[in-house]
C-alpha cells in the first residue's frame, strides 16, 4: 500500500460558496468564455455570480426543491455549467447527461435519476426529452438555452434560460433581500451533501449513477491544483462531454477551486481553431485526440516540400534524442541543446503554435493507454504531457505522473491524499477523499465496489513498481492465476508481444494451468519484408510462419518479453514457457477476432483445442486441420504441422536496476 499525505489547504466547501468567494476575491478576473457569434464572449467571476444567482432564483420560482434532480443536456456551454451551480445553490442535484447518447439510454438515465427539471441546449434536446415522457414521468419543466425552432412550442412547461434569468432578476428587483436570502439558502450546505450525479456507462449492465459530494470534488480538485501548481491564471478548453467526470472536474471543480478560466468552443467543427486562439495552459485530452493531432501533423508534413520535410525530419530526430531529457531537466550536451533551441524556433515552436499548445503548462491524457510513440512525440516537443489514472468513483484522481517522473508504461504515483493497494487477485484498490458517496438507488453495487472501510475496487489489475508508480496490466476479471499461484495477466503479456512489429496477434493461456503458453500470429508485412531482405522464399503465410528462421526470430522476441517480465516481481512467475506460431492468421471471418479486431480467447481455445493440448503435453510438433472461410465465402480446410518451442525462463528480479531507468 502506498499513499501520499500532502493535503492541500481547505477553503469553502460547496461550489455555491466557492462562487461567492471567487466573486469577492477574483471578481474582475475572467471566469468563463464562450466563442459565440464570432468572438469570445467573456464573463468575470462577479458576472458569473450574478448570472448564476439570477438563474438560480428563477429556478426556485419554478418550485424546485432541495434534493430535486436537474438534468443537464448539451454541449459545453457556460450557461449549462452555471445551471449546475445554480441548481446546487438551491439544494438540487445536477445530473449531466451525455447529449449524444441514444434516446433509449438517455431515457433510462433520466428516469432512473428521477429528474424533475432539465436544462438543455436546443430544440434537438427538447424534442428528445419530449419523446421520452413515458420513461421519465417525473420531468416537470424543461429549460432551453437556444430559442431557434422552439418559438411555436407550447411554453407552459418550457422556458428559455433567458426568461428564467430575467424572472430571477425581476424578483430580485422587487425584493432586495432576495439575494441575501439566496446566499443564506446555501450557507448551511455541507461538504458531504451530494453535489452531482454522474452516470457511468459501465461495460456491462445499465449505467450507474455515481453520487459525488462537494467534499469529494472540492478536495480532489484542490489537491490536483496544488499538485500541478494551478492557479487563477490558467486557461482551459471545455470540449469534452459534460457528463464525463473528467470534464466536470477540470471545467468546474478545479476551475472553481483554482479560480481559472473555462473556455467553451464555438462548435465541434471549430475546436482546432478555438484551441489555437485560446492556447490553454492546462489541457486534457484522451489519447485519441493526441493521436489525431499527430496524424494530422504527419499527413500535412507529407504534403510539404522536400526541404521543409527534411528539416522537419532532422529536427524531430533531435527532439527524439534530447527533447525529453531537456524537459526532464537532465544533462544534455551543449551542441544538442543549441540544435534543440534552433529546432524550437523552426519546428517545435511553430508546431505547438499550430496545435494551440504553446502556453500549455500541464497536459494530461487518460482513459486508455496512449501509444508510447505518440506520448514521446509530444514530450519531445517540450510539452509537459503526463498520464493519469482515474475513475468517476474517485472524482478522477487516483494516480498522476509527477513532473519529471514520466515513464511510458506507468500511470504515475498516487495523487495527494490517495491511498493505493493491490488486492490479492491483483486488483488495484484505493481510498481517498474523492471516493464517491454511493451509487444512486443501487446499494448492492455500492457495497460490491466500496468496502466498509472506504476502499474502492477499480476493476483493473495492476502492480506497483519499486519506484512507487502504478502500472495497469489488465481488467481485473481477465487476470487469472497459474496453478502455482503466480499472477497471470494475459493481456499484459499479449501487449508486450504485440509491441514487436513482427508479431501481429498473440493469445496467452495459463489460467489454472501449470505455465504460460502462447499462440502467435506473425505480421505478414513486417516479416515478409524481412524475408525479402534475407532471401527467404515463401509462398504463403503458412509457409513463412513455419520457417525455422522466423521461429528463431520470434523466439528471440518471446525471450525479450520474458526478460521484461522477470524484472517485475509480480509478473515474473508468469513467463512464457512454450509458444507456437499459428498456421493461419486469426480472422474475424472465422470468428476468431471480434469485428473490432480483438481476440476471442475462449473461442480460440475451443477451436484450437488440439494445439492447446500440445502446448501443455510437451510435444514438439502437432499436426492440425482447421476449417476456414475464404474471402469469397467458400469453406475449406488448412492442414499443417505446427512446431512448438520451449522457452527458458529468466531469473526473477535480475537486471532490475536497468529497468528502473
Amino acid at each position: 500500500m502506498v499513499g501520499s499525505a500532502s493535503a492541500s489547504p481547505r477553503g469553502e466547501d460547496t461550489f455555491p460558496k466557492i462562487l461567492l468567494h471567487n466573486a469577492k476575491v477574483l471578481g474582475t478576473r475572467t471566469a468563463f468564455r464562450e466563442k459565440d457569434f464570432g468572438i469570445w464572449q467573456s464573463w468575470t467571476w462577479s458576472e458569473v455570480c450574478e448570472e448564476i444567482r439570477a438563474f438560480s432564483i428563477g429556478l426556485k420560482s419554478l418550485g424546485i426543491e432541495a434534493g430535486d434532480k436537474v438534468a443537464i443536456v448539451g454541449s459545453n456551454r457556460p450557461r449549462l455549467y452555471w445551471s449546475m451551480v445554480a441548481a446546487q445553490a438551491v439544494g438540487a442535484v445536477p445530473v449531466p447527461v451525455y447529449s449524444d447518447s441514444v434516446a433509449e439510454e438517455m431515457a433510462y438515465v433520466l428516469g432512473h435519476a428521477e429528474v424533475k427539471f432539465a436544462v438543455v441546449e436546443d430544440q434537438e434536446q427538447v424534442d428528445k426529452l419530449l419523446s421520452m415522457s413515458e420513461e421519465v414521468p417525473t420531468l416537470k419543466d424543461v429549460i432551453y438555452d437556444e430559442m431557434r425552432g422552439l418559438r411555436d412550442y407550447d411554453h407552459t412547461h418550457l422556458h428559455s434560460y433567458e426568461s428564467l434569468q430575467n424572472k430571477g432578476r425581476e424578483l430580485q428587483a422587487q425584493n432586495s433581500s432576495l439575494p441575501r436570502e439566496w446566499e443564506e439558502g446555501f450557507a448551511g450546505g455541507k461538504g458531504d451533501d451530494v453535489a452531482v450525479m454522474l452516470y457511468t456507462s459501465g461495460t456491462t449492465g445499465r449505467p450507474k449513477g455515481v453520487m459525488l459530494s462537494f467534499d469529494n470534488l472540492a478536495v480532489s480538485a484542490r489537491n490536483a491544483n496544488v499538485f500541478d501548481h494551478l492557479d487563477e491564471t490558467e486557461e482551459v478548453l471545455a470540449y469534452l462531454p459534460m457528463a464525463w467526470i473528467g470534464d466536470h472536474v477540470f471545467s468546474l471543480a478545479q476551475a472553481f477551486t483554482a479560480g481559472y478560466c473555462v473556455n467553451c468552443p464555438e462548435s465541434m467543427d471549430t475546436i482546432d481553431v478555438d484551441r489555437r486562439e485560446i492556447a490553454p495552459t492546462y489541457f486534457f485530452a484522451p489519447p485519441r485526440v493526441f493521436e489525431m493531432l499527430l496524424t494530422h501533423i504527419m499527413v500535412q508534413m507529407e504534403d510539404a516540400g522536400k526541404t521543409k520535410r527534411a528539416m522537419f525530419d532532422y529536427f524531430m530526430k533531435i527532439a527524439r534524442k534530447v527533447g525529453e531529457k531537456i524537459l526532464n531537466g537532465e544533462d544534455v550536451d551543449a551542441k544538442d541543446r543549441i540544435l534543440y533551441r534552433l529546432g524550437e524556433l523552426l519546428v517545435y515552436g511553430p508546431l505547438k503554435n499550430r496545435m494551440g499548445l504553446t502556453r500549455m503548462k500541464v497536459g494530461y491524457t487518460a482513459g486508455e493507454a496512449i501509444g508510447p510513440e505518440i506520448f514521446r512525440f509530444y514530450r519531445s516537443l517540450g510539452l509537459n504531457l503526463k498520464q493519469l489514472y482515474g475513475q468517476t468513483e474517485a472524482s478522477v484522481y487516483i494516480t498522476l505522473q509527477p513532473d519529471g517522473e514520466i515513464f511510458g508504461d506507468t500511470v504515475g504515483k498516487p495523487a495527494p491524499d490517495v491511498e493505493l493497494k493491490i488486492a490479492d487477485n491483483g486488483e488495484v484498490m484505493y481510498r481517498s477523499p474523492g471516493v464517491f458517496v454511493g451509487y444512486f438507488k443501487n446499494d448492492e453495487a455500492t457495497e460490491k465496489t466500496k468496502t466498509a472501510d472506504g476502499w474502492v475496487h477499480t476493476g483493473d489489475a495492476g502492480i506497483i513498481a519499486e519506484n512507487g508508480h502504478l502500472k495497469i496490466i489488465d481488467r481485473a476479471k481477465d487476470v487469472g492465476k497459474l496453478n502455482d499461484g503466480a499472477l497471470f495477466a494475459p493481456k499484459y503479456i499479449e501487449n508486450k508481444l504485440k509491441f514487436f512489429p513482427n508479431i501481429k496477434e498473440a493469445v496467452a493461456f495459463g489460467h489454472e494451468r501449470d505455465m504460460v503458453g502462447v499462440f502467435l500470429n506473425i505480421d505478414l508485412t513486417a516479416v515478409g519484408s524481412w524475408a525479402e531482405r534475407n532471401n527467404v522464399n515463401y509462398a504463403s503465410y503458412q509457409e513463412l510462419a513455419a520457417h525455422p528462421d522466423v521461429y528463431s526470430m520470434v523466439e528471440s522476441h518471446v525471450d525479450q518479453v520474458n526478460r521484461d517480465l522477470s524484472r517485475e516481481p509480480m509478473m515474473a512467475g508468469a513467463q512464457i514457457r512454450r509458444f507456437l506460431i499459428l498456421h493461419k492468421e486469426l480472422d474475424a471471418d472465422d470468428g476468431e477476432l471480434t469485428r473490432t479486431q480483438k481476440v476471442r480467447r475462449s473461442f480460440i481455445a475451443d477451436r484450437y483445442a488440439p494445439l492447446i493440448e500440445a502446448l501443455y503435453d510437451g510435444s514438439k510438433t502437432k499436426h492440425v486441420r482447421t476449417e476456414v472461410t475464404f474471402e469469397d465465402g467458400r469453406k475449406g480446410a488448412i492442414e499443417a504441422t505446427v512446431e512448438i518451442r520451449d522457452m527458458e525462463p529468466h531469473v526473477p528480479g535480475k537486471d532490475y536496476q536497468e529497468a528502473a531507468e
Binding site: R33, G38, I278, N353
Partner: protein
Amino acid sequence: MFYREAGQFKTSYKADQALMPILQDRVGLLVILAVAFVVIPVFANDFFLTSIMIPFLVFSLAAIGLNVLTGFCGQLSLGTGAFMGVGAYAAYKLTSIFPDANVILMVLLSGVFSAAIGAVFGLPSLRIKGLYLAVTTLAAQFFLEWCFIRIPWLYNYNASGAIEIPHREAFGVVVSGAEATPIVRYFIVLGITALIAYLMANVLRGRIGRSWMMIRDMDIAAELMGIRPLQTKLMAFAVSSYICGVAGAMMVFFWLNAAEPSSYSISLSFQILFMVILGGLGSLSGAFMGAAFIWILPVFLKFIPGTIGINVAAETVEHITFMVVGALIIFFLIVEPHGFARLWQIAKQKLRVWPFPY
C-alpha cells in the same frame, strides 16, 4: 514561422475587426513606422530623401488613389496622370491666390478639385464598363493635358508654360520652393501619405469600401442588394481622384519644384497603373510595394553600371532600364498576376501555418 498566433483571441468585435488583428502584424507595422519616422530621417542623406523616399511616397499615394478606383471598385482608369495634374495646378492656383494660407492645407484642398473633375469623368462609368471605360479616362487624360497647355491662367501666364513653386512657409518652416530642406519635405509627404493611407484603410473596411468591392466583384448582384451603381462608382472616382490630386500636388510642391504639362502625361498614368497592378489590385500595402518596385528599381539600375565600374552612357542605361522594367513587369505578371501583395499574402500564410504547407 514568426506568426505565433496561439493565445491571441478576441473578446470584442472591435478587436476582431481591427485593421491588424494579428499581434505580429501590428509589431511589423510599428517597426516600419519607426523606420520611416525615426531611422530614415536620422540616417538618410539628402539624395536618398529627395530622389528615393519622397517620390516613392508620392507615387505610393497616387497608387493608393488609383487602387481605390481600379483595385477596389473595379473601374479601369488611364487618366491618373491628368487627375494628379489637376491637383498640382489647383494647388498652384490656390497658393497663388492665397499666398499666406498654409500651403499644406492648400495641397490637401487641391484634391477637392481633382475629385470634382474625376467625378465628372466618372459619369460615363454607369453605362460603360471595362476597356471601354479606359476610353473615357483617356479622354480625360488628353483633354486635361490639353487644358494645362492651352489655359495660360492655370500657370499664371508664365513664359515657360510651366508652374514653378513659390517659396512658402508653414508653421514657421520653409516647406516649398527651392529653399525647403529635403527633411521637411520628407516629413510632410510622409505625414500626408501615412494619414491618407490610414483613412482609406478605414473607408475600405466599412460600408463604403464594401460597396465598392461589391460593384467590382459582381455589379449586378450588388445592384440587386440595394447598391446604387452610379453613386457608388462616382464616389470611387471622386475619392480616387482626390487622393491622386493630392499626390499630384505633393509631387510638384515637395519634390519637383516645377512641373510642365508633360509631367502629368499619359506615361505617368501608366507608371501609376503599373504600380497598382504589380503591387496588387485591391491592396493598400500593395500600392506601397508597387511604388517601391517601379520607382526604386530604375534608380538602382542607373547606379549598377557605375558601382561595378562599367562606363555606360546615361542614355544607354535609360534604354536598358526600360527593357528591364518591361521584362520584369511581364515576369511578375506571369509569376503572380495578383501582384506583390498576393505574394506577401502567400508568404504570410506560409509563415502562419509553418511548418505545414497549408
